[in-house]
Amino acid sequence: MLKALFNILIFPGFLFLIIFGLAAEFYDRKIYARFQNRVGPPWFQPFADFVKLVAKENIIPEQADAYVFKLVPVFALTSVVTAFFYIPLWKTGALYSFNGDMIVVLYLLTIPTVALFLAGWYSCSVYSTLGAMRSLTQLFAYEIPLLTSILASALLANTWSLSKITVFYSLHPGLWAFNLLGFIISVVTLMGKLEKGPFDIPEAETEIVAGSLTEYSGKLLALFRLTIDIEMIVGASLLAAVFLPFGLTLHPAIGFILFLLKVLLIVSIISLFRTVLARLRIDQMVNFCWKYIAPLAFLQVLINLIVKWTLVR
């Protein structure tokens, strides 16, 4: 019982996620700045921003639904933290697992987007409403390819459980290399999920101010920003577990360092794309996802089926 509480609240749960999430935000901002010939923020900037926001007053618009307005950030944060417990991190097998937890994790990772939609919709401001609509439109564009590419990897392992996927790939080292296409697809779709890089359409500053979060301030905004940071970690950990499942049987300390490196690698790729690409329009984004990304994801499924019939018996 005590151990479970420690796991949930401190390590590798809530506290670890907050610290790692904010540190990853710093890393993202710093290398983004260095790519752009800027100095970038000091290491404590995300922490300072968080403390500053928490210390500020919550302003809730008169027309907004105060109950939903206050509830959704908590809802979003809880779901991403919960998803983290089912993802294998630096050893095969997660903290908790059951058959079918892969679907649950993907479902839990969809909740922040739905929360963003609700936040925007119930803010009752034009910018928020537009941002909310865009969040949802974008969800329909990236969710299917993301699910399909992760499913392809699971198909090869013949299981619906993330923990068993890592066990399978540890037993068959090198097989993960067949999933590289799926890895690229899921990084691209993760960028859509995190609303980063060329897919920051729902919060396009020059068009709709801050999208869904336009009316948010103070503690609620801090919670939302924390959610997005943690979502980045959880999403990257998920991809690391599914697509980069190597070194999981090594000593836990080495495994832990490898885990951090894998997550930072994925964050780096996201930052790089954010640097070199201009923001797409929502119609271009949907076109791109359905025209190129989704067929490629199905191609990955096909590849894995062939690999499964020929190599894995």
């Binding site: 752009q36 034009v126 537009l130 060329p198 020059t206 709709i208 201009a278 923001r279």
Partner: protein
Amino acid sequence: MHDNMEIPVGPQHPALKEPASFRLSLSGEKIMQASVRLGYNHRGIEKACEERTYIQDLYLIERICGICSHAHSTAFAQAVEEIAGVNLPKRAAYIRTLVGELERIHSHLLWLGVAGHEIGFDTLLMYTWADREIVMDILANVTGNRVNYGINSLGGVRRDISPEQVRQIAKAMDALEERTKYYIELASVETTLINRLSGVGVMSKKDVLRLGTVGPTARASGVARDVRKDDPYAAYAEINFNVVTDNHNDIYGRTIVRLGELMESFNIIRQVIKNLPDGPIAVKVARKIPSGEAVSRYEAPRGEDLHYVKANGTESPERVKVRAPTLANIQSVAFMLEDRYLADMPIVVAAIDPCFSCTDRSIAIKDAEGKGKKKKIVDWESLRLHGIEWYSKQGIDFTALNKRFKR
């Protein structure tokens, strides 16, 4: 969901660097109707000019715009010089040309960065603005200021250029040319950039002529209109350069035109510093300008800038009228916005390189909702009364304060 959503962009909005109000009627992501409202930045400079001497006006006029300040002060100086019948010394004409082209370089690099920012490509903003520092340093070195150079005087320029400065300029041009070539390459290969810019803000040659747009906005639709070529001033008659045009008709074309103009500017500056004639940099102009009137044109980075000055034989002008390039271009914005996506709105507005404070000529008061009552034009006294009344409604009374300071 409402069929048509009204979305206000401005007067305060992250996409706008200056206050202006665009009301967009949206159906989903599509803009069905756009209306533009200006007048948030009116400063009454034309009127103020009538109460100052010509020399003072030169500095006031320069402050119409922070970016094309040299354009305005040169246009004004040219008009006054024409009335006074002054012959500009050759060296002064060359120095004016030099500063004018340096200004064009900094303005176009600034525009490129702003355009990048508007389409969510902040890396371009950071890169171009870092490169812009090279030309800003040169401007500070040559004129003494980074903006509002104050290099013009009536009848010439105020500062000479030393051989050392000429060397520095030549070096800076080489560095900037290399960077500009990089941007030209970037504009021809970067897919997201091309996708966001091409086919957006389309204006055919016919529409350009009908709406009377000027500058790069017109030249990107194949209209080779450039005051430097059509009606040469300063030293442009003696310099070889091309008018850059393009047939894309859209914002991508405007980007290409501006990048091409950067290359032309480097070429012009090299010719200017190579052929810099010797001689005086200014002639004396009497404080009282004889009666007369003149119109002067200048190709500012944003397009044709037009100044009209009427003199009445005293130390101050009787009337000064400025037609900044944005006024000619702003009509086209509402036209370009219709039937486009909301996401294109910031870049369409930015593509004309707007300068609203240059353009505003009046303040009109409307009720906040913009419905009902007709607009009314407010004169100075009633504006003052309106202010006092507005503040007293808020519970703030300045009567005691005014008495204390004997106003």
